[in-house]
Symmetry: C3
Amino acid sequence: MKFSNLLQYFSPKEKKFYAIFNSAVANILETSNELVSLVNHDQVEERKTIRLKIKNLERQGDVFTRQVFDELNRTFITPFDREDIHQLASNLDDVLDLMNGCSEKIIFYNCTTFSTNMREMAKNIHKGCNELQKAVVGLEGLKSPENIMKACEEIHAIESHGDELYHMAISHLFENEKDAIELIRQKEILRMLEKACNKIEDVADVIKTIMIKYS
Amino acid sequence: MKFSNLLQYFSPKEKKFYAIFNSAVANILETSNELVSLVNHDQVEERKTIRLKIKNLERQGDVFTRQVFDELNRTFITPFDREDIHQLASNLDDVLDLMNGCSEKIIFYNCTTFSTNMREMAKNIHKGCNELQKAVVGLEGLKSPENIMKACEEIHAIESHGDELYHMAISHLFENEKDAIELIRQKEILRMLEKACNKIEDVADVIKTIMIKYS
Amino acid sequence: MKFSNLLQYFSPKEKKFYAIFNSAVANILETSNELVSLVNHDQVEERKTIRLKIKNLERQGDVFTRQVFDELNRTFITPFDREDIHQLASNLDDVLDLMNGCSEKIIFYNCTTFSTNMREMAKNIHKGCNELQKAVVGLEGLKSPENIMKACEEIHAIESHGDELYHMAISHLFENEKDAIELIRQKEILRMLEKACNKIEDVADVIKTIMIKYS
């Protein structure tokens, strides 16, 4: 019996997982939006406000992750493999943590200059989170597996593009930046942005694993 | 049957685990003490002597970790889940490794300045190790689960405080340090101290998992 | 029945694993050779060419890793524990990734100076990969377990030597390098070389685990 045929038998308990994942991914999308905003604001006070917003979103994300783990402990039948649910939740949490880490470094490192490459990387992460939402939301009901796979492919391309942006940014930095402390600042933030982008692909990989098992 | 009622039936083999863990955590506490001493000594030769002491403590810790793993392979019945024993031993080993890493960096990076924040972070780690000892030693016999949980809560607060200290120290560094090489030194050591402090909480989390399962 | 006596019954499918591992480790050895070459070339254009070669070898390595995972999914009976095969493949992949990471950093960081210590570290990695090949190739047929164990011991010594080289290099750097950006470059590349060397020992550890189980 196909996964899609099973769906009609889902108990409300199982549906809870989808509800939490949908909230978690909406929270991530909002965070990525704030991250783009953060690297596009010239005033330090505005950046500090945005950073606090991101911190709150990160805390909210922790609540969702804990809810998934609690449901896993309470629920016998899960919509897909327990291990995959666990992986999905913890990778989503990692994406959020890394975006929060970016925003922390920007503030604590006293970062004031945001290069075009850095802004592009933040925008690229936001695009990735957008596709992530499509993929995660699609899991419930599985009405259009093709759309989920398409979003995952898109994320793969976004990650590759992110890699390129990162390499360009790092090369540019080591060629042109003469102020060592400024180089440290930029280098560390770029690396954190790259990590966040990579992690989005890890989520997509978990989703692809789920798709392969159930379709 | 409660975990505490089971204890009377423990074979000497099972008791071995507690003995090793108690030695491991005493070793860790001693190391944290040396770490505090390290960042409070002005003479480089004294620091080198302390660093060698820490290196030896780290090697002794490796012996304890190996003993736990050997016992796990030899023993059929263990006082708690094999996986939890494994996690506990390897997380304790990580705490030790990270403190050793701090002391290595201080020497190899030729670090000579120790800020108040850095000293506070080392002291905070030492406090964490102190609570860690209470929690680990309490596992044997489980006479006072409340005290174990209290120590874990304390560790949680210590980790939060460590985070704050770290953020303050990093912000202060990027605002005030004009010598880039000095900034690199301090930044890397602060990060290592923060990692060590975080890892103490990972141990506490394993202990909490054990407590939840058996009480 | 001993592992060696079992070998005659191996189906062609199981032999596939050895073939893939042999290709993977030959690929790694070639990469380590290119890495030595990379830090011994004075011309940036030559270095860029070598870096592209390494990138291609890394992609080829990904193919081998995927082949192992695909075979694991397809094959019911494996020459040794599935988990160990998985670990072996993924650790080999990590060795390759880290060497590729070294070469990337050398190019993107615009690194032009290669210290004696750095060259020694690259040579040491190459020696480690050489021993790795002996150990991995020896797994098929297991005709000489002593040689496999000898190669693993050798890798252990190589890793210790690598640690010493790394510490010497880092100490030397922080004592003598006055240009902060150059210090960052060298420091990061040294750390990556050290990581690659450590990872070779992780592979040796997996091989030792396999040997202990089956001999």
